[in-house]
């Protein structure tokens, strides 16, 4: 644990850094793409390095966690730089202000923001470099820049046909003053943007050469496992390491703020040593915490109003004869459960330390490592590897993984990788919060909701902590993640109140793919479906009628419905459900086709349609829709973290089930054509999924599932 004082000091540093810490370029360790890293290259700007042999490396300031950002960013840069796609190579950026998200003072990957924020910035970076290279060529040839153009990695003089490679111009170009503005290509001129190009990282991910954090191997590297608090907030009273030290390969046992670390020559020895520790823990504030009790408390709490997040019109009691609906929905804590369990490797040197990990949060990790090690931020070099899945867990503002790994390695005379087992990862905290919702709706004579109320209880992500400003709405004081997706209803309803109980609990929570929308999408899209059925209307037609001024919703719904054959007959025992949700500025509609097998839900087909503005690579968008559906199905059908006496009851994939190939439906991904600015892609496919499935199960069985996972509902009744 870090003290309050050091945390404040740490934040001061963070604030100062936002002002303008400049870190020089350090060559990243790994190059993805054509061939090995090149050494004699010139940085034309922060994103483009060119060698004298005309090998061009693009620097990507985003973490590749599966979403395809290395490919998408390379397309944006290469488009304006006039590079051929074959032979494109990319490297992960180091930590530096140049790599911060435009308009923000930190470098991180999340919030489905990469393409949204990089669409302009990366094209401009490419165009700037292109302009500089042309200027360099103009000086060299003593001709006007207007007589030159860039093509296929060269500058060409149109009149004479003379061609100069970028490599022959880079050193000179790097000395020129960048232009204050550049002209970007028209969409009609695009050669790479909008094309379904293959991913840059696929080959490395099929032959074992892709380097993830856990694959870091440094000379004399050691491996550590940590015995962490068995219940959240527990502290070490005493420990006996006699048996641990007797394990062959165990080198050091040491106490760190998060527990007791065992450092060994290999992972297995560290594991045996860690398991041989005898630790006496003093229970902390979560010692008696129960997620089942929390569910009860939440249900009671939601019968009273919370802090108002949004209100419009007047909330009045239903009049006699009006159709009035009331429903309670509940969702559980969820683990991210990335395939690569958490890990972080730290190597101290005379001048500072190097930190190797798959992270979504480079700037904060650098500051955290510096804070723990007593170094200046610029003495910490964060090396971003591939991430074996992120989903939000590798983007903790508090850098729990890095802080611990630095504490473990500090003072040890060799590099140490702190490895988390699957069980450590699943029980080590930072979950999608559990929630409860109490909703009411009063329908008008057309069957449309005239009044909608939604009271929700959910743990805020950052409220009360050092990073609360990151998500707090200054007007309401509420953490925006507690009500996003619930407070901005797309439906034309005049009288609305959405309020929130946002009490703190001693369970670490964090963003999880689509964050608050992961709850809101299920709740809102299930309840509107209840309204449609209460009004005896077709769920698609009902939604369309209430979305008259929402063209993106309408386009997504119509496309999904058309491709799914909404309204056409299905084999006996099957039914469809539909849902639509906006998140990260994109709208996704999904139609799920389900049956019951031995009373259990079986999803056969999911048709998804996304409105995400201009598409950089439709292949990547399709992948992300397929991915969000799969991740969403795991949560909808099985996902649940429960806590008893402060201890997480799940531990591995046997009791935290996820989708497998034999339970996986056909997924069809469709994109609504659009020339608007790009909007989010990685997350928006998830929020409507659970509701689409639950709505289909209702249509099939007449049983309305109001809690997740759906495995808790008995559908065989009816």
């Amino acid at each position: 644990m870090i003290t309050a004082t050091s945390r404040r000091e740490f934040l001061k540093t963070a604030g100062l850094t936002a002002g303008g810490l400049m870190v020089g370029f350090c060559l990243p360790a790994r190059t993805i793409g054509a061939s090995a890293a090149i050494t004699d290259s010139t940085a034309v700007n922060a994103f483009i390095k060119i060698s004298s042999d005309n090998d061009i490396t693009l620097i990507v300031p985003k973490s590749e966690m599966g979403q395809g950002v290395y490919t998408g960013y390379a397309q944006l840069l290469a488009e304006e730089l006039e590079l051929d796609w074959q032979g494109i190579r990319v490297e992960a950026a180091p930590v530096a202000p140049a790599y911060n998200i435009p308009g923000m003072s930190m470098q991180f990957t999340g919030g489905s923001m990469s393409i949204r924020t990089g669409f302009q910035a990366m094209r401009e970076a490419g165009a700037t470099a292109r302009t500089l290279l042309i200027s360099a060529a103009a000086e060299k040839l003593n001709v006007s820049p207007n007589s030159l153009h860039a093509a296929h990695g060269n500058v060409v003089h149109g009149d004479s046909g003379r061609t100069l490679s970028y490599g022959s111009l880079a050193a000179h170009a790097a000395t020129l003053t960048p232009p204050s503005s550049v002209t970007l290509k028209e969409p009609s001129q695009w050669q790479l943007i909008g094309k379904p190009l293959h991913r840059i990282d696929t080959l490395a991910k099929t032959n074992g050469t892709a380097g993830f954090g856990v694959d870091t191997r440094l000379p004399n590297q050691h491996y550590a496992l940590v015995a962490r608090a068995p219940s959240f907030g527990a502290t070490v009273k005493s420990f006996d390491d006699t048996a641990a030290k007797a394990i062959a390969g165990v080198v050091v046992v040491k106490q760190v703020p998060s527990g007791i670390a065992v450092i060994a020559t290999n992972t297995w020895a560290a594991r045996k040593g860690r398991d041989a520790l005898v630790v006496d823990w003093a229970a902390g504030p979560a010692g008696h915490f129960s997620s089942a009790k929390l569910a009860q408390d939440y249900a009671e709490k939601c019968l009273t109003p919370g802090v108002v997040a949004y209100s419009a019109g007047v909330i009045s009691a239903p009049k006699k004869g009006q159709v009035h609906l009331t429903a309670d929905y509940a969702t559980p804590y969820l683990s991210h459960a990335s395939m690569e369990p958490l890990n972080c490797t730290v190597a101290f040197s005379n001048s500072g330390c190097d930190v190797y990990l798959g992270t979504q949060m480079q700037t904060m990790d650098q500051l955290a490592a510096a804070d723990v090690a007593g170094l200046k931020p610029e003495q910490v070099h964060v090396h971003t590897t591939f991430l074996g899945g992120g989903f939000g867990r590798r983007g903790n503002l508090g850098s729990d993984v890095v802080r611990e790994a630095v504490a473990v390695a500090n003072g040890f005379p060799a590099p140490v990788m702190t490895v988390w087992t699957r069980e450590d990862d699943m029980r080590g905290g930072y979950y999608r919060p559990q929630s409860h919702s109490h909703l009411t709706a009063t329908l008008d004579t057309n069957g449309h909701p005239a009044i909608w109320t939604h009271t929700q209880a959910v743990q805020p992500l950052l409220k009360g902590g050092p990073f609360s400003a990151f998500t707090t709405d200054p007007k309401t004081g509420l953490d925006k993640t507690t009500h996003e997706g619930a407070s901005e209803l797309p439906y034309a309803i005049k009288n609305v109140r959405v309020d929130v109980h946002d009490d703190l609990h001693p369970v670490p929570v964090l963003w999880w793919r689509s964050v608050g929308h992961s709850n809101a999408g299920f709740v809102v899209e299930s309840f509107i479906d209840e309204c449609a059925h209460a009004a005896h209307k077709d769920p698609l037609a009902y939604r369309l009628a209430l979305l008259a001024d929402k063209p993106k919703h309408i386009a997504a719904l119509k496309l999904a419905a058309e491709k799914a054959g909404w309204g056409t007959p299905l084999p006996k025992g099957r039914a469809r459900g539909i849902a639509v949700h906006e998140s990260f500025s994109s709208v996704v509609a999904e139609v799920a086709e389900v049956s019951l097998e031995n009373g259990k839900p079986r999803v056969h087909r999911v048709v998804a349609a996304m409105h995400c503005g201009t598409v950089i690579n439709p292949n990547l968008v399709a992948q992300q829709l397929e991915s969000a559906v799969t991740y969403g199905l795991s949560a909808a059908l099985y996902g649940r973290i429960t806590i008893a006496d402060g201890r997480v009851e799940q531990s591995n994939f046997d009791n935290y089930e996820v989708m497998r190939i034999n339970t996986m439906p056909v997924v069809e991904a469709h994109i609504v054509p659009s020339t608007e600015a790009p909007t989010g892609v990685g997350e928006p496919g998830l929020p409507p999924l659970a509701a689409a499935v639950a709505n289909a199960l209702y249509a099939l069985s007449g049983v309305r599932a109001r809690q997740l996972p759906l495995s808790q509902t008995n559908f065989s009744k009816a």
């Binding site: 696929t202 395939m339 899945g389 989903f391 996986m664």
Partner: protein, 167 residues
């Protein structure tokens, strides 16, 4: 312990064995405790990091290697059990015609997202096609259901296997 009798010798009081392991056609001298899972021998002692740790309990398939051609979860297999056997990992599977064909199909279908599970997926897929060159959907599901992917590449895995099989 009987496994080690012919090919290994007891070296320390901690029951560490010196073993000869044949990995990807190359013989490695390895000193390890007899109960160390093959996964950690491959990753930490031999230094081949393509084979992944995902669960440590044979639940996810990320650690799949071939032992004498059979797909095997290396995370629960004591190293002492594989002395004298041929171990193949993702790093060498492309040296076989079938392995190369599967890898090419993976590239053609753009299967990987984060990529962490894909070594295991490919090892399972190669073993499947080795036994059933023209697998049915059910064959694919049976052979591949032990390999978890959190990114959701299942439908592309199915397509890639079908492509490689030419069915």
């Amino acid at each position: 312990m009987t496994h080690g009798a012919e090919n290994g010798t007891l070296s320390t009081p901690n029951l560490e064995f010196v073993m000869k392991l044949e990995i990807n056609g190359q013989v490695h001298d390895v000193t390890a405790e007899a109960d160390m899972p093959l996964l950690w021998v491959i990753r930490d002692l031999v230094g081949l990091t393509g084979t992944k740790y995902g669960c440590g309990a044979a639940l996810c398939g990320a650690c799949t290697v071939h032992i004498d051609g059979e797909p095997t979860r290396s995370c629960v297999l004591p190293v002492s059990a594989v002395v004298g056997k041929k171990i193949t990992t993702i790093e060498a599977i492309g040296n076989t015609a079938l392995g190369k064909k599967i890898q090419d199909a993976w590239v053609a279908e753009d299967v990987p997202q984060c990529g962490y599970c894909q070594s295991g997926q490919i090892m399972s897929a190669v073993a499947l096609l080795g036994k059933q060159p023209k697998p049915s959907d059910t064959d694919i599901e049976t052979a591949m259901s032990g390999n978890i992917c959190r990114c959701g590449t299942y439908s592309r895995i199915r397509k890639a296997i079908t492509r490689a099989a030419g069915v």
